[in-house]
């Protein structure tokens, strides 16, 4: 396959408050909604009102919000274990997701799937690392044949690159020119293991090995991300797969209280948090939006918690 994007790596300017372009109100509201949704989950766990496990995307909320206008309704999105932001950005339905996580009426998958197994319209998440890539490649094959122009996006993390399924899928996607968009949320830590302790080489070089284009984003400014990624995402629709790597930060623990990072490491992560940068850049406007989102989530938790249990009808 000849592809002049093969070795392309675009590296966007590093983040900082002075680089943040003011976001649209709706985008800011969604990012803050996800932030407070995730904080509420950790609070519910701490109070013993949630069972099992959950993985919050604190620090990564801007990634799916940045991608919303680059995607169409007919595009498939495959999410992973850290997928609440992906779902809320796509559907704007925190109630259905919270009901799913809490096992209450109105749960998007009747309480069966829980936090990491969600299927709605063309959105699907699975709980096993790397598993979704071959599946997304299969869906991309379907789209290429039956709905040309549509794409399959799959979110993975830096840790997911340890799975062989990733490479099997990338190989087939490049070989068959499938409309597959792999979005990597490279937050530098796989559960408790730093990237440097689990990944040799780079994601860029791994994409290049398959002749797959790669874009590395070290920026949380929605306008810039969309302007740079947009044309490459359009090429995906023509059968040029893309690895879109976001250098991002996982603010919270892997799941509930299992963070073994040092205070110094956590201070660094918090300093780089988009929430802090946006707050500094936007001032009063940000504070107002943040308070509105927090209040909305508080009401949501009360409302969903009061619902009766979800009912699973197998027929």
């Amino acid at each position: 396959m000849t592809n002049n994007m093969a070795t392309t790596t675009i590296e966007m300017a590093p983040d900082g408050a002075d680089h943040i372009s003011p976001p649209a109100d709706a985008d800011l509201a969604t990012m803050l909604l996800i932030r407070h949704f995730e904080l509420a989950l950790l609070d519910l766990f701490a109070r013993g009102e949630l069972h099992g496990t959950t993985h919050t995307c604190l620090g990564q909320e801007y990634v799916p919000v940045a991608l919303v206008p680059l995607l169409a309704e007919r595009d498939y999105v495959f999410s992973n274990h850290r997928g609440h932001g992906h779902y809320i950005a796509r559907f704007g339905d925190p109630a259905g997701l919270l009901a799913e996580i809490m096992g209450r009426e109105g749960a998007v998958c009747n309480g069966v799937g829980g936090s990491q197994h969600i299927f709605r319209d063309r959105y699907l998440s699975t709980g096993v690392q790397g598993e979704s890539l071959p599946v997304a490649a299969g869906v991309a094959l379907h789209l290429k044949r039956h709905e040309p122009g549509a794409l399959a996006l799959t979110y993975i993390g830096d840790g997911t690159w340890g799975e062989g399924a990733v490479y099997e899928a990338l190989n087939m996607a490049a070989l068959w020119r499938l409309p597959l968009l792999v979005v990597v949320e490279h937050n530098g830590i796989a559960q408790s293991t730093a990237t440097g302790a689990q990944m040799a080489g780079t994601i860029r070089a791994r994409a290049a090995a398959f002749g797959i284009a790669h874009l590395r984003v070290e920026n949380s400014s929605l306008t810039e991300i969309r302007a740079t990624a947009g044309p490459l995402v359009e090429r995906v629709r023509d059968g040029a797969p893309l690895v879109l790597e976001f250098v991002t930060h996982r603010l919270g623990p892997h799941s509930k209280g299992d963070d073994t990072r040092t205070d110094a490491e956590l201070r660094q992560v918090r300093a780089a948090d988009w929430h802090a940068l946006y707050s500094e850049a936007l001032g009063e406007r940000f504070a107002e939006a943040d308070a509105i989102a927090a209040a909305r989530v508080t009401r949501l938790v009360d409302e969903v918690a009061a619902r009766p249990p979800a009912v699973w009808s197998k027929a």
């Binding site: 709980g127 379907h142 899928a169």
Partner: protein
């Protein structure tokens, strides 16, 4: 099956052609399946020429291709995957266990997944430890997954169409020696045995018998790949030991088709289940459990399980033969049990 008996591989091949013609959303994927090679066992011969674009020869990526097939099924297409040697299904286990079968129900409402994973299986061909196994037992008991096995009595045109219509993933075990054998036809097996079905349609379990309705000394339950060996044992037991046997070969192995088996077991003094795998957590144990639960107190003795030896499968022909269940393994097991019963205490 009507008409001239054909080899099982030809029947399976024509079944694939027929399914592909009948459904323009069906894909066949696998390693080296395209013409002129037509697959390691030639099961897909002619398929890629007849249906270019929907027959996809793939990289050596069992996990990946079952995942791709599951993605097609997820999106409303259907897919049949050939795993070149069933042993390699181990590489695809995650996609079968954690994605394809679970997707039928784990999202809180039924979602049809039309997916068949074909596994050429079994030994007696000298392929050695990693190319001769039957992985059947490792796929038992997975919600949303059905297990079928190739048989000389079941028309694969019916079986494949049935699996695709189920709406849940299926693993299809195909005995590699059986590919080369003739399909059964017109109810006649040979000079001694006839066959029929334990139900209205020809997807029901097949039974092989001398007399369709009478009581027998022994009921043998076995998957299709074991049919030839079981029938050789039955012939010998009847002609040389005056022990009458009936053989039941289900097409669908799991979930166990209890009712048909119960009917057959009620008319036998003794029941044994024969399978090629090693002992431990097997399909035969599932069958035995079903019979014990329902016929406890009516069975004269526990259901006998006949397996291959607890061993890897050696490559050298004479060593392989010693390890795998053969006709004489079955005959000796039945004789030992029935003689034990008949001898005075």
């Amino acid at each position: 099956m009507n008409g001239r008996p054909v080899r099982v591989v030809e029947n399976l091949n024509s079944a694939l052609h027929e399914c592909m013609r009948a459904d323009s959303r069906l894909y066949v994927l696998g390693e080296d399946i395209a013409d002129p090679y037509g697959g390691a066992f030639k099961v897909t011969r002619g398929l890629s020429q007849a249906h270019p674009g929907r027959v996809i020869t793939t990289p050596i990526s069992e996990n990946g291709i079952v995942g791709v097939a599951a993605g097609l099924a997820m999106a409303g297409d259907a897919a049949i995957v050939e795993i070149m040697f069933g042993d390699f299904a181990g590489l695809a286990f995650d996609q079968v266990l954690n994605f394809a079968s679970k997707s039928v129900s784990m999202y809180g409402r039924p979602h049809p997944m039309r997916l068949v994973v074909r596994c050429p299986s079994g030994g007696n061909r000298g392929y050695g430890p990693t190319h001769s196994q039957t992985l059947l037992k490792h796929f038992i008991g997975i919600p949303g997954l059905s297990l079928f096995e190739l048989s000389p009595f079941h028309d694969n045109r019916t079986v494949l169409a049935h699996m695709l219509a189920l709406g849940e993933p299926c693993v299809f075990i195909e005995d590699k020696v059986l590919y080369t054998r003739r399909t059964a036809g017109d109810g006649r097996v040979d000079d001694l045995f006839d066959y029929g079905f334990l139900g209205a349609d020809d997807i029901a379990p097949a039974q092989v018998y001398v007399d369709a309705d009478g009581d027998v000394d022994c009921l043998i339950v076995a998957p299709g790949g074991m049919a030839e060996r079981a029938m050789a044992a039955m012939r010998d037991l009847l002609l040389h030991h005056e022990i009458s046997c009936r053989l039941v070969i289900p097409s669908r192995l799991y979930p166990v088709e209890a009712e048909a088996l119960l009917g057959a077991a009620r008319r036998a003094a003794y029941v044994c289940v024969v399978e090629e795998s090693t002992a431990g957590g097997t399909w035969g144990a599932e069958v035995a459990h079903v019979l014990h639960e329902r016929l406890w107190g009516r069975l004269r003795r526990p259901v006998r399980l006949i397996h291959s030896a607890d061993s890897v499968i050696p490559t050298a022909v004479h060593l392989e033969r010693e390890v795998l269940v053969q006709a004489d393994t079955i005959r000796e097991a039945v004789l030992a049990d029935l003689r034990g019963e008949r001898s005075p205490v």
